[in-house]
Each structure stands twice: as C-alpha cells, then as structure tokens.
C-alpha cells in the first residue's frame, strides 16, 4: 500500500478523495454555528459547535480513559464477532442442513432490540467489559457470517473444477479456491461490523458501566450538558471511522489483488 502522504501527487489524491466531504462538513458546521447565534438557541437544546469544543476542552483530562475502555470493548467485540461469524459461515456454507436450520434463527437473532438485551447481559455478566464485548460481538457476527457464507458458496465452479482436475482434495479446494474467493466478502462484512462496533459498545455502556463513552454520555445527560453529549457523539464517529479504516487497511493487505485495477484507474 502506497499512501505517499509526503508527495505532491499523494496530497492531490487525498484532496480529490476527501476534499468534497471536508468542504461540505465545514459548511454544515459554519451554518450550524450561525443558526445558533442568530436565533439564540438555548445550549441545552442545541449547543453551537464552539460550545461543544469548549465542552471537549473542559473534560479532555477525563476522555482518554473513556476512549480506551470503549475502543477496547469495540475491538474485542469485533474480534469475537468476526471469529463467530466465520465459524457460522463455514458451517452454513458447508452443511446444507445447518444452513436450513440456522439461517432463519440468525435472522431472528438480529431482530431482538439491543436495548432490551443489554440489561439482561449486565445481569448475566456484571458491570465489567464482558457484557459490552458481547453486545458488539452479537451485532458484528451477523454481517460477517452472511457475507462470508455467501462468498464461500459462490466460489467459481469452473475454478473448483480446474483444481479438481489437478487431483485436489476437498481441503485443497477450500485452500486454493473457496477461502481466497470468500476473503473479499468476509472483509465487506467486517467493514459493516466495524462501523457499528463503537456504537454497540456505547449502547452496552449506556445501560450501566464504570467507564467508557456511554458512561460519559449518561453523566452529561443527567447534568443537562448537551454540549458534552455532542462531544461523545463526535468521538464515537471518529472512533468508528478509525476502526473502519483499520479494517480497510487490513483488507488491502490480505486481498491485494482486489486493488490492482482501482490503483491503475485512479492514478
């Protein structure tokens, strides 16, 4: 992977890729600030961006601890979720009976609202990190399982035929064809899971925690500090993007062939 941050071409590429979003975001923030000032909106209804920044500055000594907790829960949950997702995908793709029995149950599992489940998890697992990790994993395994199973089941039949003509056994077909063919799908699923992981951890914390951004939000709400709620919202967004970007980098390293064409076409 070549990010080439230092070079002029790299900078131009970055500007072309993210420039429009940055400009739009700056305009939105400026409009928001102007709106609050012109209409003199109360800060407990809608704080101005400058006020949110102030809230961030006031609590910045508390934030690293909360961020660490939430990020750890998100990453751990994502890891367990991905592992569970891959296991389920292999079973679902490999055994038709499992597919018929498990698939409907998996869909049902995703219809249970997390706000209902989270308090139960706290009863079962206590106030520590475990219930939050479980929430993230429960949220994350599903896109990974569905995407990976899809990838495994749609391996090119002619490619399978080719390696079978060479005398490959089932394990070799898996190794040479099915697994590499499913990798891009796995990473698509993992990206979706990564985007929700931080949010999942916060929902878990929100019900009850001794540390984390969810707890920070609860405290801000009880003291009507809407500006600090927004601080947490921005941080959740930033952390989610960070996690998403990390998965993206991982995908590029693990499936380099997927990026051959795009690299040439965007040059």
């Amino acid at each position: 992977m070549k990010l080439a941050l230092g070079s002029a071409a790299g900078a131009r590429r970055l500007a072309a890729a993210y420039g429009p979003s940055a400009v739009l975001l700056a305009l939105l923030v400026a409009g928001w600030e102007a709106w609050v000032r012109v209409f003199d909106t109360r800060p407990y209804i809608l704080p101005a961006p400058s006020r949110i920044w102030q809230g961030f500055w006031e609590t910045k000594h508390l934030l690293p601890e909360h961020i660490r907790t939430t990020l750890a829960e998100a990453v751990l949950g994502l890891g367990f979720g991905a592992a569970a997702g891959v296991t389920i995908a292999v079973l679902v793709a490999g055994i038709p009976l499992v597919r018929r029995v498990l698939m409907p149950l998996l869909v049902v599992s995703q219809t249970i609202p997390m706000v209902v489940l989270a308090p139960l998890l706290i009863v079962w697992f206590g106030f520590g990190m475990t219930p939050k990790v479980v929430v993230v994993a429960l949220w994350g395994f599903f896109p990974v399982a569905v995407a990976t199973a899809d990838g495994l089941m749609h391996a090119d039949r002619e490619m399978v035929g080719l390696v079978r003509s060479m005398g490959a056994n089932r394990l070799q077909v898996l190794r040479y064809i099915a697994v590499p063919a499913a990798l891009p799908a796995f990473f698509s699923g993992l990206k979706i899971a990564a985007a929700y992981a931080v949010g999942g951890a916060v929902v878990g914390e929100w019900i009850g925690a001794s540390s984390g951004l969810g707890l920070y939000i609860t405290r801000a709400q009880t003291s009507f500090r809407v500006d600090r709620v927004f601080v947490a919202v921005v941080l959740i967004a930033l952390l989610s993007m960070l996690l998403f970007a990390a998965v993206h980098v991982l995908a590029r390293l693990a499936t380099p062939w997927m990026y051959v064409r795009t690299e040439e076409e965007t040059r």
């Binding site: 090119d156 002619e158 490619m159 035929g161 080719l162 390696v163 079978r164 003509s165 060479m166 005398g167 490959a168 070799q172 040479y176 064809i177 590499p180 063919a181 990798l183 499936t255 380099p256 062939w257 051959v260 064409r261 040439e264």
Partner: protein, 268 residues
C-alpha cells in the same frame, strides 16, 4: 501391449436443465495412443469441451466409457493435465503462483514448484511478469500462462481446449514451434481442440473431425509429414490435400442454417 493413453467408447451425454434436454455428444469412439498427438476439430457447440471435461473427470456422462491409461476417468479427476477453454487464472495468485498451481496441488513444496515454473517463463514469453496479477495481463499473456500452468501439471496426458485461441498469428506460430520442440524432448500424449484446421494439421499426428451437435466422429485424417513440422509445409501438396479432406468432413454434416443452434439459441 499396454492400454492406450485415452480410450473413449460409445460416449454420450445429455444435459438436462429445467426440463430442457440438450444432447451434446452422441456415441463418440476415440482412441489415442501413448505419445500420440490428436487434434479434435468440429463446429461450435458439437461437444468438444464436453468430451474433454468427461476425460478430466469433471463431468459424469450419461452413457459410455472414458479411460485414461487404462483407468476409468469417469468421476475420477487427477489423471490428466487439463487446460479449459477459459484461462481460469486465479485472480488472487500472481502469475508465478498461478503457473505453479498444479505442482503445488500435487504436493511439490511451494519453493521448488515456483522455481520450476520460473524457469519456463522466458520460453513462454512471460519473462518479467512473474509477479504480475492476472488482472494486469493481456488476453494472449493469460492464455500462455494457462498453457504453462497446464504443462507443469505432472501428467503424461494433456487435454488442451483451444489453447491458442486468443493469440495473434505470429505468437501462435512461435507457440507451435515451442510446443513441438518440448514434445520432442519430453513426449506426452496430447488431445487438442482447435477451430484452426491448419494448426491441427501442423501439430497433430491425426485430425479427428466431429459432426455438429449431437457430436459424433465423422472422419479421422492422418496428417502428412513426420513431426516436428516446419510452418512452411502448409503450402505442400500433401498438406493442402489433407486440409481439403478435413474441410470436406467438416462441411459434410453441416446442415444449412445449422438447425441445432436454433433450438438453444435463446440465452445460450
């Protein structure tokens, strides 16, 4: 006397799909001796690829027998080196790793397999592209890589389905010369499918002609002159006569407007 390298008897196959039946091959008998080079020509859709897929053990025919080296190949892959009509390069493997695939499947250690593959890159005009991804290669390069991969499969019998179809005339002639050279040093049994009658007569000992679908064998023509052959022979009288006979055999079973094609044309 040992068994022939390839023996096909009374082979027939009917594809069934959603109630629609397509009879692809209908009673094919074919024998290819050890070290013999046979070219298979026939109109599009007459079942050439179907025959090769049966011999590769990938397709169980609805009738007849197919043997490789005296062993039934029906439902038993791994007996031949098979080059399918599509190059089927694995997009997640670089050129070198694609070439070495057959050796690796056969349990040759990765390092040794790749060293053996690397040694042939120059001969196949692929030098410098060892680390390229298939997506970065031209159609002709991909085909040469697929042929190289097939050559490295450790088997005495090669099944080649239109291996030179995507090559320009000059590269094609170069590959013909190379193929003959290699086979002279290391003889193998070859069954080659082609649409190019001249190619068939330059490369093969025998040219077998199939009828339009449902495919049957209508003629077998011995190619004149001993192998290996120079490209110049295509203007010799004996060559021209053999070519005329192959073309006549191809024309014989050819219905006007090819009624067979019409039946399956939609969505085919």
């Amino acid at each position: 006397m040992s068994a022939p390298a390839i023996r096909v008897e009374g082979l027939e196959h009917t594809f069934r799909q959603k109630g629609r039946e397509v009879r692809a091959v209908d009673g094919v008998d074919l024998e290819v001796g050890e070290g013999e080079f046979v070219a298979l020509v026939g109109p599009s859709g007459c079942g050439k690829s179907t025959l090769l897929r049966v011999l590769a053990g990938l397709l169980v025919p609805t009738g007849g027998t197919a043997e490789v080296g005296g062993v039934s190949a029906v439902g038993r892959p791994g007996l031949v080196a098979f080059m399918p009509q599509k190059d089927l390069l694995l997009p997640w493997r670089r050129a070198l790793a694609n070439a070495a695939l057959g050796l690796e499947v056969h349990g040759v250690p990765r390092k040794e397999a790749r060293a053996r593959a690397r040694a042939l890159f120059g001969v196949f005009g692929l030098e410098g592209f060892e680390q390229a991804w298939p997506a970065q290669m031209s159609g002709g390069m991909r085909q040469r890589l697929a042929l190289l991969r097939t050559f490295l499969v450790p088997s005495r019998v090669l099944l080649l389905d239109e291996p030179f179809g995507a090559l320009d005339a000059i590269t094609r002639r170069g590959m013909h010369a190379w193929l003959q050279e290699v086979l002279a040093i290391e003889p193998r049994t070859v069954l080659l499918v082609t649409h190019d009658v001249e190619e068939a007569l330059v490369l093969a000992d025998r040219v077998v002609v199939m009828s339009p679908r449902p495919g049957r064998i209508v003629d077998a023509i011995a190619a004149p002159f001993a192998r290996p052959r120079e490209p110049g022979i295509v203007t010799e009288a004996a060559f021209v006569a053999a070519k005329a006979r192959v073309l006549a055999a191809l024309g014989e079973g050819d219905d006007p407007v090819s009624a067979g094609e019409e039946r399956t044309a939609p969505g085919a």
